[in-house]
Point group: C2
Chain length 308, copies 2
Protein backbone atom coordinates (compact mmCIF):
# COMPACT_ATOMS: atom_id res chain seq x y z
CA UNK A 1 0.00 0.00 0.00
CA UNK A 2 1.20 3.46 -0.86
CA UNK A 3 0.46 6.37 1.42
CA UNK A 4 -0.90 9.41 -0.38
CA UNK A 5 -3.26 12.32 -0.05
CA UNK A 6 -6.19 10.62 -1.74
CA UNK A 7 -8.89 8.33 -0.31
CA UNK A 8 -6.81 5.52 1.22
CA UNK A 9 -9.59 2.95 0.93
CA UNK A 10 -10.53 3.42 -2.70
CA UNK A 11 -8.11 1.04 -4.41
CA UNK A 12 -8.83 -1.80 -1.99
CA UNK A 13 -12.56 -1.25 -2.50
CA UNK A 14 -12.14 -1.67 -6.27
CA UNK A 15 -10.01 -4.79 -5.78
CA UNK A 16 -12.53 -6.21 -3.30
CA UNK A 17 -15.34 -5.90 -5.84
CA UNK A 18 -14.04 -9.07 -7.51
CA UNK A 19 -16.51 -11.87 -6.86
CA UNK A 20 -15.91 -15.38 -5.46
CA UNK A 21 -16.16 -17.11 -8.83
CA UNK A 22 -13.21 -15.33 -10.45
CA UNK A 23 -10.31 -17.75 -11.04
CA UNK A 24 -7.30 -17.35 -8.71
CA UNK A 25 -5.11 -16.24 -11.65
CA UNK A 26 -7.60 -13.62 -12.87
CA UNK A 27 -8.03 -12.42 -9.28
CA UNK A 28 -4.27 -12.09 -8.79
CA UNK A 29 -3.56 -10.36 -12.10
CA UNK A 30 -6.47 -7.93 -11.79
CA UNK A 31 -5.69 -6.96 -8.19
CA UNK A 32 -2.10 -6.23 -9.19
CA UNK A 33 -3.14 -4.34 -12.32
CA UNK A 34 -5.59 -2.17 -10.38
CA UNK A 35 -2.99 -1.47 -7.68
CA UNK A 36 -0.33 -0.46 -10.23
CA UNK A 37 -2.72 1.61 -12.37
CA UNK A 38 -4.03 3.45 -9.32
CA UNK A 39 -0.54 3.96 -7.86
CA UNK A 40 0.66 5.30 -11.22
CA UNK A 41 -2.33 7.63 -11.40
CA UNK A 42 -1.90 8.97 -7.86
CA UNK A 43 1.89 9.23 -7.87
CA UNK A 44 1.71 11.44 -10.95
CA UNK A 45 -1.50 13.33 -10.06
CA UNK A 46 -2.91 12.32 -13.45
CA UNK A 47 -5.65 14.76 -14.45
CA UNK A 48 -8.79 14.13 -16.48
CA UNK A 49 -7.17 15.80 -19.50
CA UNK A 50 -4.14 13.53 -19.33
CA UNK A 51 -6.20 10.41 -18.78
CA UNK A 52 -8.48 11.31 -21.71
CA UNK A 53 -5.45 11.88 -23.95
CA UNK A 54 -4.07 8.45 -23.05
CA UNK A 55 -7.47 6.84 -23.46
CA UNK A 56 -7.91 8.38 -26.90
CA UNK A 57 -4.48 7.07 -27.95
CA UNK A 58 -5.49 3.57 -26.90
CA UNK A 59 -8.88 3.78 -28.64
CA UNK A 60 -7.17 5.06 -31.79
CA UNK A 61 -4.71 2.15 -31.64
CA UNK A 62 -7.61 -0.28 -31.47
CA UNK A 63 -9.40 1.34 -34.39
CA UNK A 64 -6.23 1.04 -36.52
CA UNK A 65 -5.80 -2.64 -35.71
CA UNK A 66 -7.01 -5.36 -38.04
CA UNK A 67 -5.74 -8.50 -39.80
CA UNK A 68 -2.85 -6.59 -41.34
CA UNK A 69 -1.78 -4.33 -38.55
CA UNK A 70 -1.68 -4.46 -34.76
CA UNK A 71 -1.14 -0.92 -33.51
CA UNK A 72 -1.91 -1.84 -29.90
CA UNK A 73 0.96 -4.30 -30.06
CA UNK A 74 3.21 -1.61 -31.50
CA UNK A 75 2.36 0.68 -28.57
CA UNK A 76 3.34 -2.12 -26.18
CA UNK A 77 6.52 -2.67 -28.19
CA UNK A 78 7.79 0.90 -27.86
CA UNK A 79 7.35 0.56 -24.10
CA UNK A 80 9.44 -2.64 -24.14
CA UNK A 81 6.49 -4.70 -23.00
CA UNK A 82 6.59 -7.42 -25.66
CA UNK A 83 10.32 -7.92 -25.06
CA UNK A 84 9.61 -8.24 -21.34
CA UNK A 85 6.84 -10.84 -21.72
CA UNK A 86 9.10 -12.64 -24.19
CA UNK A 87 11.77 -12.80 -21.50
CA UNK A 88 9.27 -13.95 -18.87
CA UNK A 89 7.71 -16.58 -21.10
CA UNK A 90 10.87 -18.10 -22.50
CA UNK A 91 13.72 -17.45 -20.13
CA UNK A 92 15.64 -20.55 -19.09
CA UNK A 93 17.25 -20.89 -15.71
CA UNK A 94 20.90 -19.86 -15.78
CA UNK A 95 22.13 -23.28 -14.65
CA UNK A 96 21.42 -24.76 -18.07
CA UNK A 97 24.66 -26.17 -19.55
CA UNK A 98 23.94 -24.90 -22.99
CA UNK A 99 21.02 -22.79 -24.07
CA UNK A 100 18.49 -23.01 -26.86
CA UNK A 101 18.40 -20.14 -29.34
CA UNK A 102 17.45 -16.92 -27.60
CA UNK A 103 14.00 -15.56 -28.34
CA UNK A 104 12.91 -12.14 -29.53
CA UNK A 105 9.51 -10.58 -30.03
CA UNK A 106 7.17 -11.77 -32.77
CA UNK A 107 6.33 -8.20 -33.74
CA UNK A 108 3.10 -7.09 -35.39
CA UNK A 109 3.89 -8.24 -38.95
CA UNK A 110 3.73 -12.02 -38.69
CA UNK A 111 1.29 -13.66 -41.11
CA UNK A 112 -0.08 -17.18 -41.06
CA UNK A 113 0.15 -19.52 -44.01
CA UNK A 114 3.33 -18.22 -45.61
CA UNK A 115 4.18 -20.23 -48.77
CA UNK A 116 5.58 -23.71 -48.15
CA UNK A 117 8.84 -23.81 -50.11
CA UNK A 118 11.62 -26.27 -50.88
CA UNK A 119 15.17 -26.04 -49.60
CA UNK A 120 17.20 -23.79 -51.89
CA UNK A 121 14.18 -21.74 -52.94
CA UNK A 122 14.21 -17.93 -52.96
CA UNK A 123 11.67 -15.87 -50.98
CA UNK A 124 12.41 -12.69 -52.96
CA UNK A 125 10.13 -11.74 -55.82
CA UNK A 126 10.25 -8.70 -58.13
CA UNK A 127 13.09 -6.91 -56.33
CA UNK A 128 16.47 -6.00 -57.87
CA UNK A 129 19.17 -6.02 -55.22
CA UNK A 130 22.88 -6.51 -54.65
CA UNK A 131 22.19 -7.73 -51.12
CA UNK A 132 21.01 -11.20 -52.11
CA UNK A 133 21.86 -13.67 -49.37
CA UNK A 134 22.19 -17.41 -49.10
CA UNK A 135 21.14 -18.37 -45.61
CA UNK A 136 21.75 -21.86 -44.27
CA UNK A 137 22.31 -23.88 -41.10
CA UNK A 138 21.02 -26.73 -38.99
CA UNK A 139 18.22 -27.10 -36.47
CA UNK A 140 19.39 -29.16 -33.50
CA UNK A 141 18.32 -30.33 -30.06
CA UNK A 142 20.09 -27.95 -27.66
CA UNK A 143 21.04 -30.72 -25.21
CA UNK A 144 21.94 -33.67 -27.43
CA UNK A 145 23.13 -31.61 -30.38
CA UNK A 146 21.28 -33.98 -32.71
CA UNK A 147 19.61 -32.65 -35.85
CA UNK A 148 15.83 -32.22 -35.70
CA UNK A 149 13.75 -33.63 -38.53
CA UNK A 150 10.49 -31.98 -39.51
CA UNK A 151 11.34 -28.56 -38.06
CA UNK A 152 9.39 -25.83 -39.87
CA UNK A 153 11.24 -22.50 -40.25
CA UNK A 154 8.78 -19.70 -40.87
CA UNK A 155 10.82 -16.70 -42.07
CA UNK A 156 9.86 -13.10 -42.90
CA UNK A 157 11.63 -9.77 -43.46
CA UNK A 158 11.09 -6.38 -45.10
CA UNK A 159 11.88 -5.26 -48.63
CA UNK A 160 14.76 -2.79 -49.20
CA UNK A 161 12.19 0.03 -48.90
CA UNK A 162 11.67 -1.00 -45.27
CA UNK A 163 8.14 -2.30 -45.81
CA UNK A 164 6.66 -5.74 -45.17
CA UNK A 165 4.58 -6.97 -48.09
CA UNK A 166 1.25 -6.32 -46.35
CA UNK A 167 2.27 -2.67 -45.89
CA UNK A 168 3.27 -2.25 -49.53
CA UNK A 169 0.80 -2.43 -52.44
CA UNK A 170 3.72 -2.81 -54.88
CA UNK A 171 4.88 -6.14 -53.48
CA UNK A 172 3.30 -9.48 -54.39
CA UNK A 173 1.21 -11.10 -51.67
CA UNK A 174 3.41 -13.07 -49.22
CA UNK A 175 6.64 -11.69 -50.72
CA UNK A 176 9.72 -12.20 -48.53
CA UNK A 177 7.98 -14.89 -46.52
CA UNK A 178 8.33 -18.65 -46.61
CA UNK A 179 8.18 -21.88 -44.65
CA UNK A 180 10.90 -24.52 -44.95
CA UNK A 181 10.73 -28.02 -43.44
CA UNK A 182 13.93 -29.84 -42.46
CA UNK A 183 14.71 -33.43 -43.42
CA UNK A 184 16.64 -36.02 -41.40
CA UNK A 185 19.83 -33.98 -41.40
CA UNK A 186 18.05 -30.99 -39.78
CA UNK A 187 19.59 -28.72 -42.40
CA UNK A 188 17.90 -25.79 -44.10
CA UNK A 189 18.92 -23.31 -46.79
CA UNK A 190 17.22 -20.65 -48.86
CA UNK A 191 17.79 -17.31 -50.57
CA UNK A 192 16.63 -14.03 -49.05
CA UNK A 193 17.94 -10.46 -48.87
CA UNK A 194 20.34 -8.87 -46.44
CA UNK A 195 17.76 -6.77 -44.60
CA UNK A 196 17.81 -3.03 -43.90
CA UNK A 197 16.94 -0.95 -40.84
CA UNK A 198 13.46 0.51 -41.08
CA UNK A 199 11.14 2.75 -39.08
CA UNK A 200 8.16 1.13 -37.38
CA UNK A 201 4.88 2.67 -38.61
CA UNK A 202 4.87 6.27 -37.46
CA UNK A 203 1.36 7.34 -38.48
CA UNK A 204 -0.52 6.17 -35.38
CA UNK A 205 -0.42 6.23 -31.58
CA UNK A 206 2.96 4.43 -31.39
CA UNK A 207 4.43 7.16 -33.60
CA UNK A 208 2.83 9.86 -31.46
CA UNK A 209 4.34 8.31 -28.35
CA UNK A 210 7.81 8.09 -29.92
CA UNK A 211 7.53 11.71 -31.03
CA UNK A 212 6.45 12.88 -27.56
CA UNK A 213 9.37 10.93 -26.07
CA UNK A 214 11.85 12.41 -28.56
CA UNK A 215 12.74 8.91 -29.75
CA UNK A 216 13.47 7.67 -33.27
CA UNK A 217 11.29 4.90 -34.76
CA UNK A 218 14.07 2.76 -36.29
CA UNK A 219 14.71 -0.92 -35.88
CA UNK A 220 18.10 -2.47 -36.75
CA UNK A 221 18.20 -4.74 -39.82
CA UNK A 222 16.78 -8.15 -38.89
CA UNK A 223 15.12 -11.32 -40.15
CA UNK A 224 12.21 -12.90 -38.25
CA UNK A 225 11.80 -16.59 -37.49
CA UNK A 226 9.10 -18.72 -35.94
CA UNK A 227 10.39 -22.28 -35.67
CA UNK A 228 8.27 -25.27 -34.74
CA UNK A 229 9.17 -28.94 -34.53
CA UNK A 230 7.22 -31.95 -33.23
CA UNK A 231 7.84 -32.35 -29.49
CA UNK A 232 9.85 -29.13 -29.25
CA UNK A 233 8.97 -25.78 -27.78
CA UNK A 234 8.48 -23.28 -30.60
CA UNK A 235 11.06 -20.51 -30.96
CA UNK A 236 10.06 -16.97 -31.85
CA UNK A 237 13.15 -14.95 -32.66
CA UNK A 238 14.97 -12.44 -34.85
CA UNK A 239 18.58 -12.30 -36.04
CA UNK A 240 20.32 -8.96 -36.39
CA UNK A 241 22.99 -7.75 -38.82
CA UNK A 242 26.15 -6.85 -36.88
CA UNK A 243 26.85 -3.99 -39.34
CA UNK A 244 23.43 -2.41 -38.89
CA UNK A 245 22.68 0.91 -37.24
CA UNK A 246 20.33 0.90 -34.23
CA UNK A 247 21.62 -2.29 -32.60
CA UNK A 248 22.12 -0.20 -29.45
CA UNK A 249 18.84 1.68 -29.60
CA UNK A 250 16.25 -0.54 -31.26
CA UNK A 251 12.88 1.26 -31.06
CA UNK A 252 11.30 -1.90 -29.61
CA UNK A 253 14.24 -3.16 -27.45
CA UNK A 254 14.46 -6.62 -29.03
CA UNK A 255 18.21 -7.05 -29.68
CA UNK A 256 20.16 -9.73 -27.79
CA UNK A 257 23.89 -10.36 -28.23
CA UNK A 258 23.50 -14.01 -29.17
CA UNK A 259 21.20 -13.03 -32.03
CA UNK A 260 23.70 -10.74 -33.78
CA UNK A 261 25.04 -12.35 -36.96
CA UNK A 262 27.54 -11.70 -39.76
CA UNK A 263 26.61 -11.42 -43.42
CA UNK A 264 29.79 -12.64 -45.19
CA UNK A 265 30.58 -11.64 -48.79
CA UNK A 266 29.98 -14.70 -50.93
CA UNK A 267 31.61 -15.60 -54.20
CA UNK A 268 30.87 -18.10 -56.93
CA UNK A 269 27.08 -18.13 -56.55
CA UNK A 270 25.24 -16.11 -59.23
CA UNK A 271 22.21 -15.94 -56.90
CA UNK A 272 23.84 -14.35 -53.86
CA UNK A 273 26.28 -11.63 -52.80
CA UNK A 274 26.27 -12.68 -49.12
CA UNK A 275 26.29 -15.86 -47.11
CA UNK A 276 24.69 -16.17 -43.70
CA UNK A 277 25.20 -19.24 -41.54
CA UNK A 278 23.09 -19.72 -38.43
CA UNK A 279 22.14 -22.80 -36.38
CA UNK A 280 18.94 -22.91 -34.36
CA UNK A 281 18.91 -24.87 -31.11
CA UNK A 282 15.58 -26.06 -29.76
CA UNK A 283 14.47 -27.55 -26.43
CA UNK A 284 11.86 -30.30 -26.04
CA UNK A 285 8.79 -29.26 -24.07
CA UNK A 286 10.06 -31.43 -21.24
CA UNK A 287 13.58 -29.96 -21.18
CA UNK A 288 12.15 -26.46 -21.51
CA UNK A 289 9.85 -27.05 -18.56
CA UNK A 290 12.73 -28.45 -16.52
CA UNK A 291 14.85 -25.37 -17.08
CA UNK A 292 12.26 -22.67 -17.41
CA UNK A 293 11.05 -20.07 -14.94
CA UNK A 294 7.71 -20.10 -13.19
CA UNK A 295 4.85 -18.80 -15.25
CA UNK A 296 5.97 -20.20 -18.55
CA UNK A 297 3.19 -21.80 -20.52
CA UNK A 298 4.72 -24.25 -22.93
CA UNK A 299 1.99 -23.71 -25.49
CA UNK A 300 2.51 -19.96 -25.70
CA UNK A 301 4.07 -19.60 -29.10
CA UNK A 302 1.83 -22.25 -30.58
CA UNK A 303 -1.45 -20.75 -29.48
CA UNK A 304 -0.02 -17.32 -30.19
CA UNK A 305 -0.11 -18.20 -33.85
CA UNK A 306 -3.87 -18.47 -33.80
CA UNK A 307 -4.34 -15.12 -32.09
CA UNK A 308 -2.68 -12.74 -34.49
CA UNK B 1 13.52 -0.54 -8.20
CA UNK B 2 12.13 -3.97 -7.59
CA UNK B 3 14.44 -6.96 -7.27
CA UNK B 4 13.41 -9.89 -9.41
CA UNK B 5 14.76 -12.76 -11.43
CA UNK B 6 14.64 -10.94 -14.78
CA UNK B 7 17.20 -8.65 -16.44
CA UNK B 8 17.63 -5.94 -13.79
CA UNK B 9 18.69 -3.29 -16.31
CA UNK B 10 15.92 -3.66 -18.85
CA UNK B 11 13.31 -1.27 -17.42
CA UNK B 12 15.83 1.52 -16.85
CA UNK B 13 17.10 1.05 -20.42
CA UNK B 14 13.58 1.57 -21.78
CA UNK B 15 13.08 4.64 -19.57
CA UNK B 16 16.47 6.03 -20.61
CA UNK B 17 15.53 5.85 -24.29
CA UNK B 18 13.49 9.03 -23.82
CA UNK B 19 15.25 11.87 -25.63
CA UNK B 20 16.27 15.31 -24.35
CA UNK B 21 13.44 17.16 -26.07
CA UNK B 22 10.60 15.36 -24.27
CA UNK B 23 8.79 17.74 -21.90
CA UNK B 24 9.44 17.21 -18.17
CA UNK B 25 5.82 16.17 -17.60
CA UNK B 26 5.85 13.61 -20.46
CA UNK B 27 9.19 12.32 -19.22
CA UNK B 28 7.89 11.90 -15.68
CA UNK B 29 4.59 10.25 -16.62
CA UNK B 30 6.18 7.88 -19.12
CA UNK B 31 8.99 6.78 -16.80
CA UNK B 32 6.43 6.03 -14.10
CA UNK B 33 4.10 4.24 -16.52
CA UNK B 34 6.92 2.05 -17.87
CA UNK B 35 8.09 1.23 -14.33
CA UNK B 36 4.59 0.25 -13.18
CA UNK B 37 3.77 -1.71 -16.34
CA UNK B 38 7.04 -3.62 -16.16
CA UNK B 39 6.69 -4.24 -12.40
CA UNK B 40 3.15 -5.48 -12.92
CA UNK B 41 4.33 -7.77 -15.74
CA UNK B 42 7.24 -9.22 -13.75
CA UNK B 43 5.45 -9.54 -10.42
CA UNK B 44 2.79 -11.66 -12.07
CA UNK B 45 5.03 -13.51 -14.55
CA UNK B 46 2.71 -12.39 -17.34
CA UNK B 47 3.06 -14.75 -20.30
CA UNK B 48 2.73 -14.00 -23.99
CA UNK B 49 -0.72 -15.62 -24.03
CA UNK B 50 -1.95 -13.42 -21.19
CA UNK B 51 -0.45 -10.27 -22.67
CA UNK B 52 -1.99 -11.04 -26.07
CA UNK B 53 -5.39 -11.60 -24.43
CA UNK B 54 -5.18 -8.20 -22.70
CA UNK B 55 -3.95 -6.55 -25.86
CA UNK B 56 -6.81 -8.00 -27.89
CA UNK B 57 -9.31 -6.71 -25.29
CA UNK B 58 -7.84 -3.20 -25.61
CA UNK B 59 -7.82 -3.32 -29.43
CA UNK B 60 -11.42 -4.54 -29.41
CA UNK B 61 -12.39 -1.68 -27.06
CA UNK B 62 -10.85 0.80 -29.49
CA UNK B 63 -12.63 -0.72 -32.47
CA UNK B 64 -15.99 -0.40 -30.65
CA UNK B 65 -15.41 3.25 -29.78
CA UNK B 66 -16.88 6.05 -31.86
CA UNK B 67 -18.97 9.22 -31.44
CA UNK B 68 -21.70 7.32 -29.65
CA UNK B 69 -19.76 4.96 -27.49
CA UNK B 70 -16.45 4.95 -25.64
CA UNK B 71 -15.64 1.39 -24.69
CA UNK B 72 -12.06 2.22 -23.67
CA UNK B 73 -13.51 4.64 -21.14
CA UNK B 74 -15.87 1.95 -19.88
CA UNK B 75 -12.92 -0.41 -19.34
CA UNK B 76 -11.22 2.31 -17.28
CA UNK B 77 -14.46 2.86 -15.39
CA UNK B 78 -14.83 -0.74 -14.21
CA UNK B 79 -11.28 -0.49 -12.83
CA UNK B 80 -12.24 2.68 -10.92
CA UNK B 81 -9.82 4.74 -12.95
CA UNK B 82 -12.16 7.54 -14.01
CA UNK B 83 -13.36 7.97 -10.43
CA UNK B 84 -9.73 8.19 -9.31
CA UNK B 85 -8.72 10.84 -11.87
CA UNK B 86 -11.92 12.68 -10.98
CA UNK B 87 -10.79 12.72 -7.34
CA UNK B 88 -7.29 13.82 -8.31
CA UNK B 89 -8.46 16.54 -10.67
CA UNK B 90 -11.15 18.09 -8.50
CA UNK B 91 -10.37 17.34 -4.89
CA UNK B 92 -10.31 20.39 -2.62
CA UNK B 93 -8.04 20.61 0.37
CA UNK B 94 -9.80 19.51 3.54
CA UNK B 95 -9.35 22.89 5.23
CA UNK B 96 -12.01 24.50 3.05
CA UNK B 97 -14.79 25.92 5.28
CA UNK B 98 -17.52 24.77 3.00
CA UNK B 99 -17.19 22.72 -0.15
CA UNK B 100 -18.47 23.04 -3.68
CA UNK B 101 -20.68 20.25 -4.96
CA UNK B 102 -18.76 16.97 -5.10
CA UNK B 103 -17.84 15.69 -8.52
CA UNK B 104 -18.44 12.31 -10.12
CA UNK B 105 -17.34 10.80 -13.39
CA UNK B 106 -18.67 12.08 -16.71
CA UNK B 107 -19.18 8.54 -18.01
CA UNK B 108 -19.18 7.54 -21.65
CA UNK B 109 -22.68 8.78 -22.58
CA UNK B 110 -22.31 12.55 -22.50
CA UNK B 111 -23.28 14.30 -25.74
CA UNK B 112 -22.53 17.82 -26.84
CA UNK B 113 -25.21 20.24 -27.94
CA UNK B 114 -28.12 18.93 -25.89
CA UNK B 115 -31.28 21.01 -26.57
CA UNK B 116 -31.32 24.47 -24.96
CA UNK B 117 -34.55 24.58 -22.99
CA UNK B 118 -36.48 27.04 -20.81
CA UNK B 119 -37.02 26.71 -17.08
CA UNK B 120 -40.03 24.53 -16.39
CA UNK B 121 -39.58 22.52 -19.60
CA UNK B 122 -39.68 18.73 -19.67
CA UNK B 123 -36.81 16.65 -21.05
CA UNK B 124 -38.95 13.51 -21.39
CA UNK B 125 -40.45 12.66 -24.76
CA UNK B 126 -42.61 9.68 -25.79
CA UNK B 127 -42.37 7.82 -22.48
CA UNK B 128 -45.32 6.92 -20.22
CA UNK B 129 -44.21 6.84 -16.60
CA UNK B 130 -45.42 7.26 -13.04
CA UNK B 131 -41.94 8.39 -11.98
CA UNK B 132 -42.21 11.89 -13.41
CA UNK B 133 -40.12 14.26 -11.32
CA UNK B 134 -39.98 18.01 -10.83
CA UNK B 135 -36.37 18.88 -10.11
CA UNK B 136 -35.41 22.32 -8.86
CA UNK B 137 -32.83 24.23 -6.87
CA UNK B 138 -30.32 27.04 -6.96
CA UNK B 139 -26.80 27.38 -8.28
CA UNK B 140 -24.67 29.35 -5.81
CA UNK B 141 -21.10 30.45 -5.13
CA UNK B 142 -19.81 27.97 -2.52
CA UNK B 143 -18.03 30.66 -0.48
CA UNK B 144 -20.39 33.66 -0.63
CA UNK B 145 -23.61 31.68 -1.00
CA UNK B 146 -24.75 34.15 -3.67
CA UNK B 147 -26.78 32.91 -6.64
CA UNK B 148 -24.90 32.52 -9.92
CA UNK B 149 -26.41 34.02 -13.05
CA UNK B 150 -25.78 32.43 -16.42
CA UNK B 151 -24.96 28.97 -15.09
CA UNK B 152 -25.71 26.31 -17.71
CA UNK B 153 -26.96 22.99 -16.32
CA UNK B 154 -26.42 20.23 -18.84
CA UNK B 155 -28.49 17.23 -17.67
CA UNK B 156 -28.85 13.65 -18.98
CA UNK B 157 -30.22 10.33 -17.76
CA UNK B 158 -31.48 6.99 -19.07
CA UNK B 159 -35.02 5.96 -20.02
CA UNK B 160 -36.90 3.49 -17.80
CA UNK B 161 -35.51 0.68 -20.00
CA UNK B 162 -32.02 1.62 -18.77
CA UNK B 163 -30.83 2.97 -22.11
CA UNK B 164 -29.52 6.39 -23.05
CA UNK B 165 -31.12 7.74 -26.22
CA UNK B 166 -28.04 7.07 -28.36
CA UNK B 167 -28.18 3.41 -27.34
CA UNK B 168 -31.87 3.09 -28.15
CA UNK B 169 -33.29 3.38 -31.68
CA UNK B 170 -36.81 3.80 -30.24
CA UNK B 171 -36.04 7.07 -28.45
CA UNK B 172 -36.05 10.46 -30.21
CA UNK B 173 -32.64 12.03 -30.75
CA UNK B 174 -31.47 13.90 -27.62
CA UNK B 175 -34.30 12.50 -25.50
CA UNK B 176 -33.78 12.91 -21.73
CA UNK B 177 -31.15 15.58 -22.28
CA UNK B 178 -31.34 19.33 -21.92
CA UNK B 179 -29.45 22.51 -21.09
CA UNK B 180 -30.92 25.13 -18.76
CA UNK B 181 -29.47 28.59 -18.13
CA UNK B 182 -30.04 30.34 -14.79
CA UNK B 183 -31.19 33.93 -14.47
CA UNK B 184 -30.23 36.46 -11.76
CA UNK B 185 -31.75 34.35 -8.97
CA UNK B 186 -29.56 31.37 -9.86
CA UNK B 187 -32.62 29.14 -9.77
CA UNK B 188 -33.39 26.28 -12.11
CA UNK B 189 -36.31 23.88 -12.51
CA UNK B 190 -37.38 21.27 -15.05
CA UNK B 191 -39.24 17.98 -15.41
CA UNK B 192 -37.43 14.69 -15.80
CA UNK B 193 -37.92 11.08 -14.63
CA UNK B 194 -36.92 9.40 -11.43
CA UNK B 195 -34.13 7.29 -12.91
CA UNK B 196 -33.59 3.53 -12.64
CA UNK B 197 -30.53 1.36 -12.05
CA UNK B 198 -29.15 -0.03 -15.28
CA UNK B 199 -26.35 -2.30 -16.48
CA UNK B 200 -23.44 -0.69 -18.28
CA UNK B 201 -23.02 -2.14 -21.80
CA UNK B 202 -22.06 -5.77 -21.37
CA UNK B 203 -21.36 -6.76 -24.98
CA UNK B 204 -17.72 -5.64 -25.19
CA UNK B 205 -14.40 -5.82 -23.34
CA UNK B 206 -15.76 -4.08 -20.22
CA UNK B 207 -18.46 -6.76 -20.02
CA UNK B 208 -15.89 -9.51 -20.52
CA UNK B 209 -13.79 -8.07 -17.70
CA UNK B 210 -16.78 -7.86 -15.34
CA UNK B 211 -17.70 -11.43 -16.19
CA UNK B 212 -14.16 -12.69 -15.60
CA UNK B 213 -14.16 -10.83 -12.27
CA UNK B 214 -17.54 -12.27 -11.27
CA UNK B 215 -18.94 -8.74 -10.91
CA UNK B 216 -22.39 -7.41 -11.85
CA UNK B 217 -22.64 -4.57 -14.39
CA UNK B 218 -25.23 -2.42 -12.58
CA UNK B 219 -25.10 1.24 -11.70
CA UNK B 220 -27.42 2.77 -9.10
CA UNK B 221 -30.13 5.13 -10.36
CA UNK B 222 -28.59 8.52 -11.11
CA UNK B 223 -28.88 11.74 -13.09
CA UNK B 224 -25.82 13.30 -14.75
CA UNK B 225 -24.89 16.98 -14.69
CA UNK B 226 -22.22 19.10 -16.32
CA UNK B 227 -22.53 22.65 -14.96
CA UNK B 228 -20.67 25.63 -16.34
CA UNK B 229 -20.82 29.28 -15.36
CA UNK B 230 -18.72 32.29 -16.42
CA UNK B 231 -15.69 32.56 -14.11
CA UNK B 232 -16.48 29.33 -12.32
CA UNK B 233 -14.83 25.96 -12.49
CA UNK B 234 -17.14 23.52 -14.29
CA UNK B 235 -18.71 20.73 -12.22
CA UNK B 236 -19.10 17.23 -13.62
CA UNK B 237 -21.28 15.21 -11.30
CA UNK B 238 -24.10 12.74 -10.76
CA UNK B 239 -26.83 12.58 -8.11
CA UNK B 240 -28.00 9.22 -6.80
CA UNK B 241 -31.42 8.05 -5.58
CA UNK B 242 -31.19 7.05 -1.91
CA UNK B 243 -33.74 4.26 -2.49
CA UNK B 244 -31.77 2.71 -5.35
CA UNK B 245 -30.04 -0.65 -5.33
CA UNK B 246 -26.28 -0.71 -6.04
CA UNK B 247 -25.36 2.43 -4.05
CA UNK B 248 -22.84 0.27 -2.21
CA UNK B 249 -21.50 -1.60 -5.23
CA UNK B 250 -21.74 0.71 -8.24
CA UNK B 251 -20.04 -1.07 -11.18
CA UNK B 252 -17.96 2.08 -11.82
CA UNK B 253 -17.37 3.22 -8.20
CA UNK B 254 -18.82 6.73 -8.64
CA UNK B 255 -21.13 7.15 -5.61
CA UNK B 256 -20.32 9.76 -2.95
CA UNK B 257 -22.40 10.35 0.15
CA UNK B 258 -23.00 14.04 -0.52
CA UNK B 259 -24.48 13.17 -3.91
CA UNK B 260 -27.23 10.91 -2.55
CA UNK B 261 -30.64 12.59 -2.80
CA UNK B 262 -34.28 11.99 -1.88
CA UNK B 263 -37.10 11.83 -4.41
CA UNK B 264 -40.10 13.04 -2.39
CA UNK B 265 -43.69 12.13 -3.36
CA UNK B 266 -45.25 15.29 -4.83
CA UNK B 267 -48.89 16.24 -4.87
CA UNK B 268 -50.90 18.82 -6.73
CA UNK B 269 -48.83 18.90 -9.91
CA UNK B 270 -50.39 16.96 -12.83
CA UNK B 271 -46.92 16.79 -14.43
CA UNK B 272 -45.03 15.06 -11.62
CA UNK B 273 -45.24 12.29 -9.05
CA UNK B 274 -41.96 13.23 -7.32
CA UNK B 275 -40.13 16.35 -6.30
CA UNK B 276 -36.36 16.58 -6.13
CA UNK B 277 -34.63 19.57 -4.61
CA UNK B 278 -30.89 20.00 -5.03
CA UNK B 279 -28.59 23.02 -4.85
CA UNK B 280 -25.32 23.12 -6.76
CA UNK B 281 -22.40 25.01 -5.23
CA UNK B 282 -19.63 26.22 -7.53
CA UNK B 283 -16.14 27.60 -6.95
CA UNK B 284 -14.54 30.38 -9.00
CA UNK B 285 -11.39 29.33 -10.85
CA UNK B 286 -9.44 31.41 -8.33
CA UNK B 287 -11.03 29.86 -5.24
CA UNK B 288 -10.75 26.40 -6.75
CA UNK B 289 -7.05 26.93 -7.37
CA UNK B 290 -6.55 28.27 -3.84
CA UNK B 291 -8.10 25.19 -2.28
CA UNK B 292 -7.21 22.54 -4.77
CA UNK B 293 -4.53 19.88 -4.72
CA UNK B 294 -1.42 19.86 -6.85
CA UNK B 295 -1.92 18.65 -10.36
CA UNK B 296 -5.35 20.14 -10.87
CA UNK B 297 -5.77 21.81 -14.21
CA UNK B 298 -8.56 24.30 -13.94
CA UNK B 299 -9.60 23.86 -17.54
CA UNK B 300 -10.09 20.13 -17.29
CA UNK B 301 -13.83 19.84 -17.52
CA UNK B 302 -14.02 22.56 -20.15
CA UNK B 303 -11.53 21.05 -22.53
CA UNK B 304 -12.90 17.63 -21.71
CA UNK B 305 -16.04 18.65 -23.50
CA UNK B 306 -14.20 18.95 -26.79
CA UNK B 307 -12.55 15.55 -26.48
CA UNK B 308 -15.53 13.26 -26.16
Amino acid sequence: MTTHKYDPQFTQAVINATGPKATPRIRQITASLIQHLHDFTRENDITIDEWMAGLELMNEAGRMSDDRRNEGQLVCDVFGLETLVDEITYKLASDAKDEPTATAILGPFYRHEAPQLNMGDCIVSGIESTDRTWMHGTVTDFLSGKPIEGAVLDVWHTAPNGLYEQQDPNQPDMNLRGRFTTGKDGKYNFYCLRPVPYPIPYDGPAGKILQALDRHPYRPAHIHFLIKAPGYKPIVTQIFDRQSKYLEDDAVFAVKDSLIVDFVPYQGDPQAEFELHYNFKMATFEDAKKHSVAGTTTESATSLGSKI
